[in-house]
Symmetry: none
Subunit: 422 residues, 2 copies
């Protein structure tokens, strides 16, 4: 091992490898995800670099980083194709020979065979790692990563560029390793509070004093419809961190009121399903403009099937009549995008499926199909329950575009059902 | 001016400045946007760096870059608040004094006054630029950028981090400057070919010679089920680039055979819809484990409603019987996850909706619900058309997890329908 001096302590850097990033084909979501994780773990990092799948330039960047930082976290370039050259380039940068790891080869073979795929010659190269490197196993794909310390006080971690694989490997093996190395200091715990039906700027204004405080910190994040507040506390141990978080969480939830719907891994769908499960009731959907999006969101939650029965995708008006029993004159008098039709759809799906609750969506997602009285972005909803039915509407505005309008519609349908069940 | 040697010609790099990027609060959309622009202009860039709003580290990164590249494009840190320190740090890095630009000060004053805002002391600092720098005026906001050559053969361009402002300034002033400098050369065009039903490694092996060639280049990308090949050509003009791409595209499509399904913005859903539209036929879906995912994918395509009628989400067995007419004894004899039930669902939805085609999915997405004979990841599909019905199945393997299994099921359902329509 070569002695490296002149390095400022425990610095960590990110290196994302991929020509597609330099061509602007994709956004660097991995850098954001890892940055958020490092912040959560209390590990500061001061630099991110992106290079293409180019041997010479990658080597230059890695050698530079090895003189600056203690840990370099690399993503990308671990696939089977010739342009995936991260592992071999890192090995060459530090003059280490590549070795075939038989356990990795066996794992790749088993995964491919389970998927009914042959082992390509390309795949064999994914089993080659530098001598001395530890395999960072990939529970999802064929590309393993590694943890390798080619120099004293300098370690490389490599991850595939596929986000799901990188994230699973990070959580299962990289985080424990960072903790073992003493790179995490104390413990950071965080809690994500989830809100729907309020703008990020409004929520941020209401919780402004919290955004200034230090431990725990509170940071807002906005998605498409959902707003999140992340509370992060640092302490010597988990209980102490939780004790810092609890009172802040309580206050933030109080401020959020009924806009608060869940925490951490909750989703609007999972909260609705849990609520119905507790009541021993079932749910069905009737979807026009979302065309299955509400059903897909519900079905994404493991175990949904004991509460969620299914429903009808009623894109065509004929289906609204035949499968949901919406009367022809309701359609003729009010139009397919109307409160009357939305309620009739919700009541119809409740009746035809025997579910306790029915929720319906009908709207104009665009880009075509809008009119002066019914513009693109107008969506009507219906909720039918054991005791009553009700409708509501939203005007999302055409500028948000088809996908965003459909996504907000799915969220608002589930959110109003949640409030009706509360 | 200091003479800088040892620099490889016209290299350009991106530097994005902002602590929010290092905390993972936002994704680096500016890097992606600028990367795409540079590719479009035929300007290769080989590195992107991200640093926080920190004087010392920013200075270090800029001085390093000045030894490597001809142009450094910087975003972020031009705002009025104390953590915005890009301009003053760049000036300090090259020992240049800051000068107040009266025309910039007047512009800031005018903009603030138009918004009914007072001129804050903070805003005055935005009028300070290094001696010798040219103002890169900001048509939207108060933060101007600059074009500055502090060293021979090294220029800095600065832009605010606000995407709309950065983009407007880029188009109005930066692009003409890059052209004047002779940095734009020819034009890059690219074409994305999309494949389904083949592993990235297999496709890459089949097209291996193409992956080695230079103009156009061919690079493979894998998603969840979909594999893409991007062909990128460089030429003096668009037609010449297209002429380089065309023969390669033709050969790659021939190699991909029926796994090739579309190019650029196509999706499996859009291709299926276009094919049905051409035939004057309609489609309905019957979904169990995907619970609306196939419908949502079809509905995501603008204008889907003239072909896609809707369908039934048959999560519960009762719905498979009542709304799809699957016989009780088919369910009892074969189980809900079986080819017989999948075909009966497809035929049932075809009949009940009057669609020309019905496609059905029933499977075990997990994590629970698997058995030795019907493991998690087993999915049966049915396709019913005007002339015949057929079933097929996939074993995705439990390790891929619920979301991935559901996503692959949506793709395979659409893909087999596509092949049936071909």
């Amino acid at each position: 091992m070569i002695k490296v001096s002149n390095k400022t302590n425990n610095q960590i850097e990110l290196l994302c490898i991929g020509t597609e990033l330099l061509l602007g084909n994709i956004v660097n979501g991995n850098a954001r995800w890892l940055a958020e994780e490092l912040a959560r773990l209390g590990i500061p990092h001061f630099r991110q670099t992106v290079v293409g799948d180019n041997r010479e330039r990658l080597m230059e960047v890695v050698l530079e980083a090895s003189r600056r930082c203690r840990v370099l976290i690399c993503t990308g370039g671990l696939g089977p194709t010739p342009d995936d050259l991260t592992t071999e380039t890192l090995a060459a940068a530090f003059n280490a020979p590549l070795e075939e790891r038989s356990e990795v080869l066996a794992d790749i073979k088993a995964k491919l065979s389970a998927r009914g795929r042959p082992m390509a010659a390309n795949n064999c190269k994914q089993a080659l790692l530098p001598a001395g490197a530890t395999v960072l196993s990939n529970p999802l794909g064929t590309a393993p990563g590694m943890i390798w310390s080619p120099l004293e006080n300098f370690s490389l971690l490599t991850f595939p560029g596929v986000p799901a694989e990188m994230q699973a490997m990070w959580e299962q093996t990289a985080v424990p390793w960072l903790q073992q190395q003493g790179l995490t200091s104390g413990i950071f715990r965080s809690r994500l509070l989830r809100f729907w039906g309020i703008a990020e700027s409004s929520l941020a204004e209401q919780v402004a004093p919290f955004l200034e405080q230090q431990n725990p910190t509170v940071a807002p994040y906005a998605g498409r419809g959902e707003v999140k507040l992340r509370i992060t506390a640092w302490a010597d141990n988990g209980e102490a961190a939780d004790a810092l978080i609890a009172p802040v969480e309580q206050q933030l939830r109080q401020i959020g009121g009924s806009n608060y719907f869940g925490a951490d891994g909750d989703s609007l769908a999972s909260v609705v399903l849990a609520c119905l499960r507790e009541r021993g009731e079932t749910l069905a959907v009737a979807e026009s403009c979302t065309s299955g999006g509400v059903g897909a969101a519900l079905g994404a939650v493991p175990g949904a099937s004991d509460v969620f029965l299914g429903g009808v995708i009623a894109y065509a008006n004929g289906i609204k009549q035949t499968l949901l029993g919406v009367p022809a004159d309701t359609l003729a008098n009010h139009g397919a995008v109307s409160e009357a039709v939305a309620i009739a759809m919700a009541e119809g799906v409740r009746q035809t499926t025997g579910a306790d609750w029915g929720v319906a969506v009908t709207g104009i997602a665009g880009p075509a199909g809008g009119s002066a009285s019914k513009p693109v972005g107008l969506v009507h909803f219906g909720v039918a329950g054991p005791e009553k039915s009700f409708g509501f509407m939203r005007l999302y505005g055409a500028s948000r575009g088809r996908e965003w309008i459909r996504g907000l519609s799915v969220g608002d349908a589930l959110d109003q059902l949640r409030l009706a069940l509360a």
